[in-house]
Amino acid sequence: MKTDIVQLFENPYLALGVSIAIIMAYLSVNAIMLIWLERKLSARIQRRIGPQRGPFGLMQQIFDMGKLLSKELLTPEHANKLLYVIAPILVFAPVVALSSLFPITSTYIFHDFNIAIVLILAISGINVIGIFLAGWGSNNKYALLGAVRSVAQNISYEIPLILSVIPIVMITRTMSLYDITLAQETYPFILVQPIALIIFIISATAETNRAPFDIPEAESELVAGFHTEYSGMRFGLFFFAEYSNMIFACALATVLFLGGWRGPLLPDAVWFFIKVYALIVLMMWFRWTFPRLRFDQLMKFAWVVLVPLSLINLLITTLVLKIV
């Protein structure tokens, strides 16, 4: 009943090319739409109107893209040119690579991979390297501070993130995202693993460097953090990466906890995206409500609250599974 789109093509390279093209196109449009959504949403929360260019202000993003594309690409004088240039690509690449793994519908998926979760958790760590290189290569103290903060933060929050995913794997005894979705036939895992979901959302917000965990790019402290020295479309790529990471994290949460494509009446893909965007709106709501944590408090929160909590959750899950 499921068909890998990749298997429809005889030539594997062609398959790869097509899927990357589709994903890139989707992610670009998605990032533009999300930026629009964020601006409109924040405007409403702040009782403003928000962008007004074009219908519903949609043209604003097109103009911004056009402007960023035509902006001068400055490279700071004392920057490490190679690191400086590849950093934005490294931040953006993992999302593109991993997006193909998500089962968006029950029938057609790009590729079902039986250790998808391990792959996701491993490769999504690469963007930290990208951020660090960006900070290191810029030769700017603010950027470096942002990069160092980012690395520390991402490493800390990776642990509760992984620990909150493990119970799901234990329950379903599979690491394929497709099979995990199938396993949620009767009920989504949010009902059995609510604490894991909360930990996952918090960690994911931290992993994507969104407020209230946006200390690597904390505007009021570090100017613009790790991308202080980036201009034009290189900066645009960081922007893209932020929103792509967001949708990536929310999609993972949807598959693991909210039953993926499952839902009554509406087609599979529609349900999947409704759930994803609902989570995204929640993350945006966080951002426009809360102040930012301090660096040491952020670490303390990860190690003193989240890690023990997820371990307890893991322990309880194990016990329950053993008994039942």
Binding site: R47, F290, V305
Partner: protein, 179 residues
């Protein structure tokens, strides 16, 4: 246990905050959409000074007394005037204001003896040149100047007549008292 209580309390405060933002989300925006909705400036609104019309003269009544020029803390008023033939008062022939220097303090209005200074109600000016803001306040009145001078002559004649009458009355009174 204390830690769990702390976490729960903290979560509660966070949810309260989110509720406040949600409440505001439901309220309508407060934005006034500037180019589409023009805002009416209040009576007291201060901008560049203008010469305001005196009804009896049909034009401004700047008599080139130079009080505003002297009091201006930013030295942004440039005045010049002449005494037209047949008139007791002077008329200004040049009244320029460099608005870029002005600090909207309103001291010039305080000292104006004829109360012919007022504020412009323009609140959204911008220009491409530094020199765009050197306003010639007499420009709007240029074509009315001749008529105003004629009118002033009449007024002054009336005033002179009035004064003469009063002086005569006073003299008469004095004479009466002396008697």
């Amino acid at each position: 246990m204390a830690l769990i209580k702390e976490i729960l309390d903290g979560t509660k405060t966070l949810l309260t905050g989110m509720k406040v933002t949600l409440d505001n989300f439901r309220k309508p925006p407060v934005t006034s959409q500037y180019p589409m909705e023009k805002i009416e400036m209040s009576e007291a609104f201060r901008n560049v000074i203008v010469l305001i019309e005196k009804e009896d003269i049909g034009s401004h009544d700047c008599i080139d007394c130079k009080l505003c020029e002297r009091v201006c803390p930013s030295f942004c008023i440039y005045l010049d005037g002449e005494r037209p033939e047949g008139l007791r008062r002077k008329r200004s022939t040049k009244f320029e204001v460099d608005f870029a220097l002005c600090s909207d303090c309103g001291l010039c209005l305080d000292v104006c003896p004829t109360d012919t200074l007022g504020y412009s109600k323009v609140h959204d000016e911008a220009g491409y040149n530094r020199s765009d803001f050197l306003y010639d306040l007499l420009e709007p009145w240029a074509d009315k100047e001749e008529a105003a001078r004629e009118r002033l002559k009449e007024i002054e004649a009336e005033q002179a007549a009035e004064r003469a009458r009063k002086a005569a009355a006073r003299k008469a009174k004095k004479v009466r008292r002396e008697k």
